[in-house]
Symmetry: C2
């Protein structure tokens, strides 16, 4: 198992040669160049990530849902009580949550990672395939990030290491896409604060309604985040706009997010092992920002699954130069939106290995010279119903 320092020093840039080979192939396949849009560029990214051409077709996607609680909930930033985090963990394990349905649809398995759930997980829910729990609890919830650091720097590093260790072990066991997800009542406050600190976007521009809060609660949430940013800037004696200069683990300790730390570790682990990390909404993207701050080359291994309705997600994607695959106004977290993009990754890889080339299919070349003559004007064929001359009999359809 890699340590955090080994991962940070061991992450290689993605393979531009493999991507170039993919691009070259796109021009030969039985379609106009570019006609598959983002599926084409995604195929090139998968080649760059794996360092092989054609890239492997993902067959074992795993959703890691990091769960943790948040001391900032004391500030009234969410209408849901803290127990819901543990209750939702139990729901993931019994298979009744949104992520279970989506993972089942796309052929992914779900691994729930308790990095900091504060209340007991209801006992009736003992996970079984394909939904399982790993306990990697750093501490039972964070402290209130408005009043002081959410956790110690050592705890922040532990959370990141937990995600890295899990990613490394999952890849050992065959995982070939790591989908990141989160659960934690109050966690969009931590995530938005981290996104603001790491991107420089102002709190108001990155703060969203999370589970769907009122205008009044949203206004309060913005104020909490703004004050927390101010607190951290003062504590480290740097201007608010220069917070991104602080070490990422320090920012995580101040404003995290144990689950955000875990996700940062998955980003590092995926990058180390050359496996795509398919990230979800604002909590996952806050994790990606931290992972990429620690190891800049890791960004090449991150694929944005969807555009969450949370504005902080858009801020983080712009900062990382990522374009999301889906845009369905999903804001459930859990890895759900990202997991829905798994078939697009498989399609992108399969296009490169399964589509015929124009040459092999015997398809004529295009030319900008207009053809010399029109079609022979067709004679209208007789057309009795049921249809004439079927290549297949109707009964065979």
């Amino acid at each position: 198992v890699a340590t955090l320092n080994e991962a940070i020093s061991g992450i290689s840039p993605v393979d531009r040669d493999a991507a170039a080979r993919a691009d070259e192939r796109q021009a030969q396949l039985t379609k106009p160049l570019g006609a598959l849009g983002m599926i084409e560029s995604l195929g090139s990214r998968l080649a760059a990530i794996s360092g092989t051409f054609p890239p492997p077709v993902p067959s074992r996607p795993i959703v890691t849902v990091f769960a943790a609680d948040h001391g900032v909930l004391a500030e009234g930033v969410s209408p849901w009580p803290v127990e819901v985090t543990a209750q939702m963990v139990a729901t993931f394990l019994s298979g009744g949550a949104g992520i279970n349905v989506i993972a089942g649809e796309v052929g992914a398995t779900v691994l729930v990672v308790d990095v900091g759930v504060a209340t007991p997980i209801p006992a009736q829910a003992n996970g079984s395939e394909p939904n399982r729990l790993v306990s990697a609890k750093v501490r039972p919830g964070t402290d209130n990030l408005l009043r002081g650091p959410a956790m110690s720097r050592a705890e922040a590093i532990q959370a990141i290491q937990a995600g890295l260790t899990i990613a490394d072990k999952l890849v050992d066991r065959g995982a070939d896409v790591l989908v990141t997800g989160d659960m934690g009542i109050g966690n969009t406050t931590a995530a938005a604060a981290l996104v603001s600190a790491l991107t420089g976007w102002p709190p108001r521009a990155v703060t969203g309604r999370g589970t769907g809060i009122s205008d009044e609660m949203l206004e309060h949430k913005v104020e909490v985040i703004d004050a927390a940013i101010e607190r951290v800037a003062a504590a480290h004696d740097v201007p608010r706009t220069a917070l991104s200069q602080l070490p990422a683990d320090v920012l995580l300790a101040e404003l995290g997010g144990l689950e955000i730390g875990g996700i940062a570790g998955v980003v590092l682990g995926g990058a180390l092992r050359r496996v795509p990390v398919l990230v979800d909404g604002v909590s996952s993207l806050a994790g990606a920002l931290i992972g990429v701050a620690l190891a800049p080359e890791a960004v090449g291994y991150v694929i944005a699954g969807h555009r969450s309705a949370e504005p902080g997600a858009t801020a983080a994607m712009e900062h990382l130069g990522l374009e999301p695959l889906l845009d369905l106004r999903i804001r459930i977290g859990e890895g759900a939106g990202a997991c829905l993009a798994v078939p697009l990754l498989r399609t992108a890889a399969r296009v490169l290995s399964e589509m015929a080339t124009l040459h092999d299919a015997g398809v004529s070349e295009s030319t900008e010279e207009p053809p010399a003559s029109a079609l022979a004007p067709g004679e209208a064929a007789e057309f009795p119903l049921p249809l004439s001359d079927p290549a297949l009999g109707w009964d065979e359809i």
Copy 2:
């Protein structure tokens, strides 16, 4: 098998009660209301379409790829020669095209329908499961829509009837999602002309680059479409802006698109049989415009799979009040972009039948009252690596 008149008179409005039951359930599931975004509204639409709650989970999606040639190719609107239509039909049958890869990924089968291919389909390609051909040729390609009607009104009706018959038979045989696709060199010219006539959008706003033509060829294509619109308006003695008042089959005869007619028939057939019709790009949407012009209630059965890069697709979707599920800049036709949305339909249906309710999962209710107190400040747990206290042993991950 239903006749066109039977279909037009037999299409029922979608079931608003079933949709209301779906909406009600969304509020009870283990997620904040609205957190699954468009997946939620899609689930309600599937309930409305089937008239049942929960809606059935699609298990047998079929892509019907209607293929036909276009006399307007004589005007130099595409760089590809006419033979490519037949060559691509052969590629569909041998499994080497984009739609084959995508259909394979999402578990759909491909049925290619020759409604008007002008040149011989290369003989080596005899389709086999899951890629098959039905010959329903109305005539070998259309006439040049710039110089006169593309086909007779009887031929236009035959093309629509062919699509209706196929849809009806496919539903008899178990198809539960009808994905529409098209193949026809030159067909974005016909499709854009029809979209302009039926929506009132000017030719320049609905004309795109099709397979990827040059600025110069695009300019010429706009002129061809503009002149064709002018010709039809003069022939029927109506203002250009009132072309949508003409019967839809007359417009199809003037400006079609045998494959566009076939797709219009699938829209009617799906609506008649209460099966969702998942439409693709500008050719499919031109077909949907015609189908909906003939039977306005049919629009409730149409789901826009993706936003094609062709601007005419956006015009048609706005006119029909449809919001696309995907936006990947795909412009390959074939039904490819729509087919990629099949897992979203399955997910939307499964959410309604498989997710637990908050009550069943024992999840606490939300309240806008902030909680009275903070989390108990957590004691940092010891955290040796490998992780402590796993609910699963690491070897079991």
